[in-house]
Structure formats: C-alpha cells, structure tokens
C-alpha cells in the first residue's frame, strides 16, 4: 500500500526558528510508518527541471505539502509544475481561512479548456521531463493534495496531529491509488528525498552561502525567484494581464489560455499585474500583502481591508507606478496609465472613488 507522502518545502533564507520546525517535523515523521517524509527546497523557487520538481511529479498518491506559503499559492505553484490532484481539506485552523475547498474542481473537472496541459505550458521554461504528450483536458489525477501553511502554528505537534488525521482519512481510500502509478520516478535522483535526515545533517554542515541562494544538499543551486502564479480556479482568461505587462512574461498556450510563459522575465518585487487582474487570480507568493501572496481573501471571517480608508492609492495607480519603476530600470520610457490599462478602469469618471465606496464594495463581495 503506498504510503502517504509528506513534503516539507523549506523556508527561504536561514531563519533558525523555521529551520527548527522543519527539522522537528522531519524527525518525528521519519519514524512514522504510515508516512514517507521528504524535504525539498522552497517550492516557489524550484525550476521545472530541478530534481525536486521531478520528485514531486513522481509522487503517486495523496500528498501533504507543508510550506511557508499560503495554501492557495502552494497549490497553484504545484499546478504550474504539473503536480496536480484534488484539493485536500485541512482541518487546521489557519490564518487565511480557506473554505473554498472544491472551488476549482468543477471548472477543471469538466475540462472547459481554460486549463491547458501543463506540459505544453512548460515551453517557455525548459522541457518537461518526458512524460505527458497527452492531449489537453486531462482529468485531474484521482488523489488529494493537502497544502498546509507552516506559518500558522509554531508547534510541530499541531502539524503532526493533522498529518496523522489525514493519514487515517487517506488509508480508507488508498485502494484506488495504484491506478495513478503511471510515471516512472528515476530512483537514483529521488533517493535523496527519501533520506531527509541525512539531508538535514548535510545542510547543517554546509559551508556558509550567499544569503540569496538556498543550496539544497544535492548541490543543485536554488535561486530565489519572482514570478506570477495564476490561480486558474479564478482566472477568466480575460487577457488583461498580458496586455498590461510590458516585459513579456505572459503568453498563451496552444488553446489560447493565459499562461505565465517567461517566468524569469518578471521583475523582482513587482506585483503590478496582480493589481489589474479583475479576478484576483494572480498570486505573487512572496509578496507581503496577504491578498497578493495568495491568502484566501473572500470567504469566512476574513478581515476587512481598511487600506483604502487609510489612504491607499488605487490599485491601478499603484500598478502603473510599479510598472514605470521597472521600465526605468530597464532604460525604457515610462508609460504611466497610457498602455495596457483596461478600459473599464480608464473610462471611469475622474472623480476619485470615495474610500467608502470601496469599503461597501468589499462588503458586498462578502455578501453580508
């Protein structure tokens, strides 16, 4: 019977508290017969051809991914890497309430074409790893991916409890998982992920490193990256992002679906396009504003954002300003609000929106 796989995605940087939580989890789970624990570099930073990415793709059954990211961000980063499955629902209390659970499943199950095959999508980003020449509209693999946010709790026990709960839940439905054993992991490349304790030890003894790069034990350098991640459960394929970004980050897959094609052309720190996306579908997992970093911002007891009340510039103002900064850095001319600003926003009456309008709107969105 395949075990439940637990993947711990390491924090960026060398925060000792974070590393300790990772180590405690690995230590506790290594001795648990019901799970297989693995430690990988930060998910967001993994290149498509990194061995850890290939390892992730090779996991056959249910998987729990613990990362220092909002679950929604983690889920769509994995999706972009062709690590897919149904969303597993964690019962852990989280800072960002994610009750949306099956939100994306209907759209994706009935294969409405918005979501092309990720192998096609990898064009801009190096090759895939060989499998997946299938046509579009693949069904979502019949397994669950649980994404847990390691920032929610500081006590490893909380996570261990939830992992055991999921493990017992999963053991009831493990029978049909064998059908998913299609891909062939390359054993020698994968082995290192199955020895997380050695890996931790190796890391501890690693010599001091450039602060900006996290080097995993296998020697593959993982650079910090910065790029948009599309939440296809929200994206309406409206094309506003591709019109707005002047740096060639976005592209279309063969079926005309929006795609983050040239991830590494994105400007570090620039979150501009996420502000123009009308569906709030563009996530920058490393951004400090939770709504941009992938917090689930529209359900449950999520807090009201009072930023407008306290003087926030409008999203479009901000986006255009941020884009201009990057244009100047590239030695190009600033364009302000003249290019790629959606009509719906441009044609708005000049009178600045009252901050209270925005408040009311945000409440309407909450359906109070």
């Amino acid at each position: 019977m395949p075990k439940l796989t637990v993947v711990i995605s390491q924090a960026q940087g060398k925060n000792p508290a974070k590393q300790q939580l990772e180590a405690e989890l690995v230590a506790a789970l290594s001795s648990d017969a019901n799970v297989e624990v693995s430690l990988v570099p930060n998910l967001y930073d993994l290149a498509a051809d990194h061995s850890a990415t290939q390892f992730l793709r090779s996991i056959p059954g249910d998987v729990i991914v613990l990362s220092w990211l909002f679950p929604r961000a983690a889920r769509w980063i994995l999706d972009r890497q062709n690590v897919r499955g149904h969303e597993g629902v964690s019962l852990l209390e989280s800072k960002s309430d994610d009750e949306e659970s099956d939100d994306e499943s209907p759209a994706r199950k009935n294969g409405n074409g918005r979501h092309g095959p990720d192998d096609a999508k990898k064009n801009g980003n190096g090759n895939g790893n060989g499998h997946g020449t299938e046509p579009d509209l693949r069904p979502v693999p019949n397994r669950k991916i649980y994404c847990l946010d390691l920032r929610d709790h500081s006590d490893a026990k909380v996570y261990l409890g939830e992992i055991r709960r999921i493990a017992s839940e999963a053991s009831l439905s493990l029978v049909d998982l064998f059908s998913f054993l299609k891909t062939q992991p390359q054993p020698e490349r994968l082995e290192k992920y199955l020895r997380p304790l050695d890996l931790l030890a190796e890391q501890k003894s690693a010599t001091s490193l450039d602060d900006d790069d996290d080097v995993p034990a296998n020697g593959e350098v993982v650079r910090r990256r910065w790029y948009p991640v599309i939440d296809y459960s929200r994206c309406t394929n409206c094309m506003e992002c591709i019109d707005f970004c002047l740096f060639g980050v976005y592209g279309l897959d063969p079926l005309g679906s929006i795609l983050v094609e040239q991830q590494d052309s994105c400007k570090k720190g620039c979150p501009a396009c996420s502000r123009v996306c009308p569906a709030n579908a563009i996530v920058f997992p490393g951004h400090k504003t939770p709504a941009i970093a992938g917090a689930d911002g529209e359900v449950g007891d999520v807090k009201i954002d009072l930023s407008k009340l306290f003087g926030a510039p409008s999203a479009v103002e901000l986006a255009a300003r941020e884009r201009d900064v990057e244009l100047v850095r590239d030695g190009r001319d600033i364009v302000g609000l003249s290019i790629g600003i959606p009509k719906r926003l441009k044609d708005k009456p000049k009178k600045p929106r009252d901050e209270l309008d925005d408040l009311i709107d945000s409440l309407d969105a909450l359906e109070l």
Partner: protein, 150 residues
Amino acid sequence: MSDLTFLMGKFEARIPTDRVYSDNHLWLQADDEPNCYRVGFTAYSVRLLQDVYFLEWSIDPHSAVHKKQEIGEIESSKAVSTLYAPVDGTILDFNERLLDDPSAINTDGYGKGFLFRMQTEVTFLTPEEYVAHLAAGWDKTEKLIKGQYN
C-alpha cells in the same frame, strides 16, 4: 474647548479640538519642535479597526515620505490595513511602546497610543472640517458599521 463628536450609529467618535486631522483618518497634534506633530488614529479609525494586535513599520525613523507612501501594516481583530503617510514630510520616530503592545491605540488613542512623530509643512483639516469629511461619507458607511460592528 469641548470635543466634537461624530455619531457612528450609536457610537460617538470623539474628535478633540486641540489638534488637526488628515483625510486618511489620522490626528496630528503639534509637538515641541516647529512643524512637528504627534500622529495617531482618530476615534473613527479605531472604531473601525476594533482591537489592534499587530503593528509594524516598513520604513526607518527619519525617513522622508510622500503622501500615500506605504509606511507600515496594522492588523486588528476585525481588519487589516496597510498604513500610508498622510502627507509629504519626514517621519521622525515611532511610538516605541506600541511595538510590543499596540493596545494603547485602543485604550488611549488620542494620547499614549499615538503612532509616530512627523515633520511637515502641509496644512491639515480643522476638527470641524474633519467632522464634515466624516459626515460626507457617512451614509455609505452606516450599513457597514451596523452590519459589522453592532
């Protein structure tokens, strides 16, 4: 001089007349040095925020800022917000006591719960003007206040 009040539903937001106001709901009270103010949240802001439990500044003391520049983050039991400079000027220093425990924002928002000190040449709203500013937007907020906080 007696304080003004602004009625938020049943809640009376007190607007003291010994200071001036910015349109983004901060009060400013002249400090010792010229053009220097203590700055804090008005009762109106605090009422919307409810219990503040997290406050963080993203700029260093003695930073020049421009209006609407992001300067920090706040989180309360009910809301989150980025914080923005009210006007062009220089943020001199932050209220240290809030950094460990921001509860003074709720208990003494017009006094010990001030946020920072700022130097600027800009003129601000008088208490009367600020109350008028609040009144102008009130109809729309009423629904919010009632639905959320009463």
